[in-house]
Every structure is written in structure tokens, then in C-alpha cells.
Point group: D3
Chain length 189, copies 6
Amino acid sequence: MADDAPTALDLPMVDPLPPATQKYFDICTEKLGMVPNVLRAYAFDIDKLNTFTAMYNDLMLGDSKLSKLEREMIAVVVSSVNRCFYCLTAHGAAVRELSGDPKLGELMVMNYRVADLDPKTRAMLDFAVKLTEAPERILEDDRQALRDAGFDDRDIWDIASVAGFFNMTNRVAAASDMRPNDAYHAQSR
Amino acid sequence: MADDAPTALDLPMVDPLPPATQKYFDICTEKLGMVPNVLRAYAFDIDKLNTFTAMYNDLMLGDSKLSKLEREMIAVVVSSVNRCFYCLTAHGAAVRELSGDPKLGELMVMNYRVADLDPKTRAMLDFAVKLTEAPERILEDDRQALRDAGFDDRDIWDIASVAGFFNMTNRVAAASDMRPNDAYHAQSR
Amino acid sequence: MADDAPTALDLPMVDPLPPATQKYFDICTEKLGMVPNVLRAYAFDIDKLNTFTAMYNDLMLGDSKLSKLEREMIAVVVSSVNRCFYCLTAHGAAVRELSGDPKLGELMVMNYRVADLDPKTRAMLDFAVKLTEAPERILEDDRQALRDAGFDDRDIWDIASVAGFFNMTNRVAAASDMRPNDAYHAQSR
Amino acid sequence: MADDAPTALDLPMVDPLPPATQKYFDICTEKLGMVPNVLRAYAFDIDKLNTFTAMYNDLMLGDSKLSKLEREMIAVVVSSVNRCFYCLTAHGAAVRELSGDPKLGELMVMNYRVADLDPKTRAMLDFAVKLTEAPERILEDDRQALRDAGFDDRDIWDIASVAGFFNMTNRVAAASDMRPNDAYHAQSR
Amino acid sequence: MADDAPTALDLPMVDPLPPATQKYFDICTEKLGMVPNVLRAYAFDIDKLNTFTAMYNDLMLGDSKLSKLEREMIAVVVSSVNRCFYCLTAHGAAVRELSGDPKLGELMVMNYRVADLDPKTRAMLDFAVKLTEAPERILEDDRQALRDAGFDDRDIWDIASVAGFFNMTNRVAAASDMRPNDAYHAQSR
Amino acid sequence: MADDAPTALDLPMVDPLPPATQKYFDICTEKLGMVPNVLRAYAFDIDKLNTFTAMYNDLMLGDSKLSKLEREMIAVVVSSVNRCFYCLTAHGAAVRELSGDPKLGELMVMNYRVADLDPKTRAMLDFAVKLTEAPERILEDDRQALRDAGFDDRDIWDIASVAGFFNMTNRVAAASDMRPNDAYHAQSR
């Protein structure tokens, strides 16, 4: 692929970008120092970009009793099951940054099971991983385990939605060979 | 759960629904004879409902060189891997209806591999299933197999996006024990 | 294969059929409206047909404390693990008919785990599925779980025998690409 | 279980045995030096014993272009996948005896893939093992591979039937904790 | 490979062997009636042979509260998971010899789960097998299960080291198609 | 475990260490800035430490046509299959350092399949991963694929030995909950 292309698919960005998109990308550059490649990948079709970012922002940044770190931890453990290079890189960096604990980011990437986690966080990640590996085996006992750990039904919905979302994006990234921006690798080490 | 609840989670619909949502649900009732339970499930939070329907409508009903039947076939084979009762029921009915071939719907649910498919359709479904079962093993050879079968890079994106989307919704449905409307079972038999 | 052939193997029926076989097939046509293709498939060798039907009739129709519906449910969940198009179609129809509950048939085909089952039936199907997926891991605890659910040792034998039988026929059907009669698809919907 | 019981299930043999069964068991003792425990296990119900032995004798001893050694090799590689102690012991002994090659018996039990086999035998065992491990993935290419190796469609049926049969008996043995007669272990070493 | 070669790799033994190695091999011949092929395989490089035998002797013959039979049982169940023809043959013979119970050796090769074992031995083998099949899932609960069964932390180290060692040698044997000496097959039957 | 303990097992280092061991540890501190925890873990028994370091040094630092980077890449991809936190951390750092390419280290940890590798390196890693995941399926074709990629039989032995070694150490680390020194995480980023 072209050195700078965000994926292996020949799907160039709309050129020029519509003003609202350009403005969004400028804000990314200003705040993050880059436009994440996932946004560049979707920008061949502005409607698709917008539906993707609307869902992403609702799930990862919107109102929820799950903290942003908790949502990023779910993102990484799901991506670890699916071995998604893009999402492990981008969201592994987010875990390192939000937690201030580089080792925690590595543990989520490598094997969350051996991390030293409080029981509530472990229950959350166990559910996200089982939902990823064997969704057909999720039953009422699994929901009850989350309730017993202190989550309510809205939290369960949010855990499931974030885990589900990364099961989607992991596969879009895998199918298109999506490449993370190089800048992530050294962040918050 | 309550006999009429769309999931096992205690997340009642916003009441009353905002006028735009109520109108959308009325249209569903008029056209489909029901409000699909997935919409009722998301209606505890209208923003979530809207981001979900925007993505669903873009992927399943929006502009694409994939026919609606092809997209529904992807939906069902992905849901078959994940054994999602909700999606197999609702989208199995869609395959039966769009194809006019009840047996085709059953084959997608039970084992698409033994269906009598043209090579292009088989390549599409093989990719969707591998992407579901082993996303970490999707490589350039897999993309090239789709191109060799007659798909272009935009088609590959669309195949991946539909397959990815159902990997998400299968898991939201599994996590919440989402129940399909009974009406689907007898449709287009 | 020929449009009418029951399998992909070139193994034509004995022609003419011996009188006893012809009579048996005539009874099938009269009672079921068809000769099930599995019988046509075996009819290239009357001894094989007879040993197959003797075992089938003993297990599925013979004396047992398991009801015919219970035996058909085992048949379908085993065939669901093995994704056998023939057996899911023919025995899924049987579950719908014997139970008068089309949704129950669909649940057995798609994912029996999310069906609303009494604990005894669930224990029976859990055993049949574990025996199918991981026979090397069936131990005394698994047998005791059946006894605790209300089954006696003869029932355990019968559950195992039906589950075992469909592990055989699923594979004969898969190996020969056995095709179910079209009539099953619309039955008892 | 009782020291002498053939399984962990409390299903004593009919007592006295009907004369025809007693005669059959006497012949076993005379020819084999024992009554194989599988026959003793089924003898709680003479009809079940008879349907089992009729199918066994047809498949393993009846007319087929597969040699008895080939059928026993299929029996053992299937039982190796399923890790069935009873069948590996009894049919491993049969491979040793029929081949006069104790090492061949061990290879079939341990890992048939590393045995030094002619291509036709390897194709046969590869088919039997794939049919055991992933019956849903057996397609026309797999049947054609057998034809290319020199088998005809009747042979394919016979390979599938023997492989299917041991997928049944492996599970009946596992479910009941069936124990092989001790005499097998030292035979033909 | 040459009839007498210990592996499929063209790596001839150092010739002549250094005196210390020759003496070691002479002792093997005297005590065992053969030079085990694993030693002949490593003898293309005397340093590699020496590091291998040092570790082997420490683990399998050195000081430990695990008996030699217990270590050999671990060796065989690990090799059974990995289906290693070399190690199953050589160490299966060792279990038969050390236990004086040929059936025990067969059970370890075929399916240790159905053997009649005391709870401590079963806990040891369950740990070794889980460590082989799913090392990423070994957690404190697994270590505690060993402690509850009567093992101390040094024993846990020894169990893990033997299980780990055979996970290594199974793979060296598989990669090189290492062949056990024929003499093992008939030993201690 | 104690904050400073290298594993979850209560196996304190020999105290004082023998002079040769102390010297070795001092050299580690001088050259690496730390004593790797794996050495501290083994130091409860100096013989075990010595046999481990002898094998490690022979394989990872000794004479071989495989470069040190190649051996470390094998170490990481094997550890990625087994999700070993210790080895991924320590040897991931080694890949980053030896290659001067932090992204390469991340790719080996996360999913080597999507790395941009020359065909020879890919063949080497594909062999190591298959040997790890399914040693029973390694056959002559797999060895020939390495030869076709440019490796000779001695190289195959070395690839197998390194892959085998990490299949051992991954399991010793998992069984003991071995913890990598914190210093690795930030190295060569």
C-alpha cells in the first residue's frame, strides 16, 4: 500500500473534505497531534464516517457510569482476543494515558488475566472476553455475575455495547489491514 | 423477563417516545406489522437508538454494489457462527423474503457451506465467516480472493462492514438476551 | 448431483426394491407424504438400509422413558453442533410438530442455550452437547448431574445412544452431501 | 462400579440370556477368549444388543472393498480424536493383530499423521479425521480427494459409515464409562 | 529418512563421539539395551546434547518430592495433548515399567481423565494438562488447587517444570520427526 | 506475593548465593541494569538455575546461523500464542532493541501475521507458530517449506529448539506467575 495510506484498500478520502469534516480533522490534529487513521480510512464516504464517529463518540465519550478508562480497558481486551494491531495500538495507548500506568496497558494487550485487578473490573473484563470468544454461551448467570459485582442493567448494556463495538471495528481493521499512526507506539510509556 | 420485554435487562423505553421516534415506530408497524424488538431494546436512550439506526440503515439499506440480499446473507452467516437467536431469526426471514427461496434462508442459518452458491457469493461468505472466526488471520490473500471473484475494494469494505456490524449486534443481543418478535418465525416459509 | 438424487454419491437404489422395502416406502409416502431421503440414500444396499432403520426405530420410536419430543430435541441440538443440514431440517420439523411450538424448533436449531427450558430438559441437552463436543471430558460428575436432574441410568443410556446415533448420521450425511426432502422446510411453521 | 461391570451405569445383563445371545457369547469366548465388554454393556436389552451387533457386523465384517485392516484403522483414528479409552484399546489391538505390525497400532492411537502410509491410506484417514473433527466442512473437494486417491463412491460411503459408527460408539462408551477387557492390552505386542 | 536415522533432519552425529559421550552411550546400551534416539538426535552437537541431558536428568532423575512415576505420568499426559509419537512411546513405556501397571500407561496415553486416580494425582495431572492447553488461563486458583491437594510451592515448581519440559521436547520431536526406538513398544506389556 | 518476589511461589533465593552465581548476577546488573526476574526465580536451586542458563545461553546466544534478532522474534511470537506476560515483556523489549524498530516489537507481540516481513522470516515464524499451536500437524511439507525459504536442516533444528524452549518457559512463567522487571516496559520505545 502507499506509505501513507491508512488501509490496504484503494479508497481515497473525499477531496476536498467537506468543511465540517475538515474542521473535525483539524481539531484532531490540534488535540492529538494527528488524525487517527481510522477516521482517514472512513473518509472515502462522509456518511459512513459520520455514522461511525457518532457511535464511537456515544459509546466511548458519552454519558455512562463506566469510566473512560474502563471503556478503554474493554476495548483493549476485546482487541487482544481478536489480535487487532490497529486497536491494540491506539487503545493500548489510551489505557496507558488514562491510567498513568504503562504496565496496565501492556497487561491488557498481553493477558489481562494476570493483571492485579479489583473484582469488579475483573468481572467486567471477564464478561467482555467471554462475550467476544463465545457469545452463544452468555446466559443469565453471566449477567448476574456482573450485577453481583456491582453493575446495574444499564452498565451491562454499556459493557456489551463497547465490547460489541470493538468486535466490529477489529474486523473492519483486519479486513482492510488498517494501520495505526506511528505516533501511538511511544505514547505514555 | 416480562413477557413483552425485548431483552432480559431492565431498561424500559423512554415514555413517551419523542415524536420522531414514535413516527418511526409507527412506520415500522405499518410496513412490517411490528416494531422490531431491537429498536424497542435501544429505545431506553434515544441517542443510542439513533446512532444504531443510522449505521444500520447506511449499511443494510444504503448505497452499495452489494444487493440487499447479499447483505442479508452476510448477516445470517455471521450470526450462524455466533449462534445469535435474534439475528438468525430476523435476518433469516429477510433472506427467505428477498430471495423468495425459503431453503436458502435455512441453509444460511444451518450451514452455508453446503448451499449451491455461485463462486462470487461463496467467496463473499467465506470471507465474512473467516473474518468472524479468525480476524487475526485475514491477510492480503483473502482480499485478493475477493478481487479475483469480481469484487472491488469498495465492495470489500462493504462486506467487512456488514460482517463487522453483525459481530457487534450478535454480541449486544447475546449479552442482553434479546428476543426476536414471534412474527418472524412463520414469514416467507 | 442429479436433481432428484438424495446424495452426491453415485449409489442408485436397488431396482426394483424388494417387496418388503417397497411396502415400507409406500407406508412412508402414505403417512409422511414422502420417502425421507435418508432411506433412499441407504437403499443402494438393503442390508444397510435394514440395519439403519432397525437402530433408528429402536432409538427414536422404541420403548424409552424419554418422550419422542425429548429424543428429537437431542437429535437437533447434536445436529446443531455438527451443523448437519439434513438432520437439522428433518428433525427440526419433528420438534416443531411434536411440540406444537415452531419457536422451540428454531431455538434447538439456532442455540438451545437461550431457550426457556425446565432444568431437567436443560440437563439432558447440556449432556448431549458436551458428549458431542468433548466426549473425552465426560466423567462421573456429568452422569451424576443427570441423575440429580431426575434421570436414571437407563435414561442416561438412552440419552447417550440418541446423541451418539446423530453423531453418526450427521457424519454420514455430511460425507455424502445428503439432501433433505424439500417438504420439511414449510412443515409445522 | 462393580469390579466386573462393563460400564459405570447400573444396567445388569438380562438373566438368563436368551439362548441365541448365550450362544453368541459362547462363540466370542471360544474365538476371542472373552466376551467383549461392549456386548455385555448392551445385553441389558436384547433388542438393542441385536441392532448394535447387526450394524457392527455389517460395517466391520461385511462386504466392502475396504479391507478389515482399513476399517480398523479408521476406527482407531476416529477414536483417537475422541480419546475413547474403550475403542482405542479394543481396536488398537485389532490393528496390531491384522497388520502384524504393533508399531502401526501405536501410531494410529497416538498420531496417525506421522505414520509412514501410502497416499491412498492417508487420504482415507485424513477424510475420516476431518469428518470427525469438522463434519460441517466436508465438501465436494473432500469427496473428490478420495476419488483421486483411488476410491469409488461406494468406498466413500463405507469410509463415512465406519467413521460415523465410531463417532457413535465413542460417545456411548464415554457416556457410560465403558471399560475394555484387560486382555486387549497385551495382545499382539 | 535413512532407516536408522533418529529424525528426518540431515544432522549426523559427531564422529567419532567424544570419549565422555561415547561412555554415556555405552552405559545406555548396557542399562537400557539401546541408546535412546533423542540422544542420538542431539549428538550432532555435543554442547546441545549436554545441556539437554543436564536438564533432563535434573528434572526427571534429580531431587524432588515428586516420585519418578509421577514425573513420567506428567510427561505422558502432556505428550498426549500434543500427540507426540516419540514421547508417548518412550515415556508410556516408563509409566508401564515404574508402575508395574500396563493399563495405567495406556490410560495416560489415551485419556488420563478416565483413569481411576487418587485426588492428589488427578490434581497434578489436571494442572499439567491445563498448563499445556491454556497456559494463559493458569491463575492463583489453579496453584491453590494444587496446594489444597497436598503439594507445596516447590512441588508446584517441579510439576510446572516437567510439564514445561515436555512441551519443549514434544515440539522438538514433532519438528524433526523424531522416531522412538522400536524396542519401547513391547516393553512392560 | 511480596512486592519484590519474582513469582507467586514461596521459593526464596539461596542466601547467600554461591560466588559464581553472585558474580553472574553482578554482571547482569552491570550490563542490563537489573537481574532478570527469571534468574531470581530459578535461584532457589542453583543446579536448576545453571541448567536453565546453560540451555538459554546455548540457544539464544550460542552459535547458529539464525541471528539473535530472529531468535528473539521466534521467542515473542511463541509467547504471543501462549500470552505469556513475562516473555512478551522481556523479549518484546529485545526485539525492539535488536531491530531498532519499536513497531516491529509491537507487531510480534500483537499479531506477527500483519507485519511486513520478507518471505524467509515469515516462513520461520509461521513454522514456529504452527509448532506451538498444533505440533501434531507438523509434517514433512512444513520442513520442506522452510528449506524452500532458504533454511537448512541445522536451521530447522535451531528454529524448533528456540520455539520449543519458549513453549517451556512460557509455561513455567504462567505456572509460577512470573513477573517481568518493570524496567523492560519503557526500553527502546
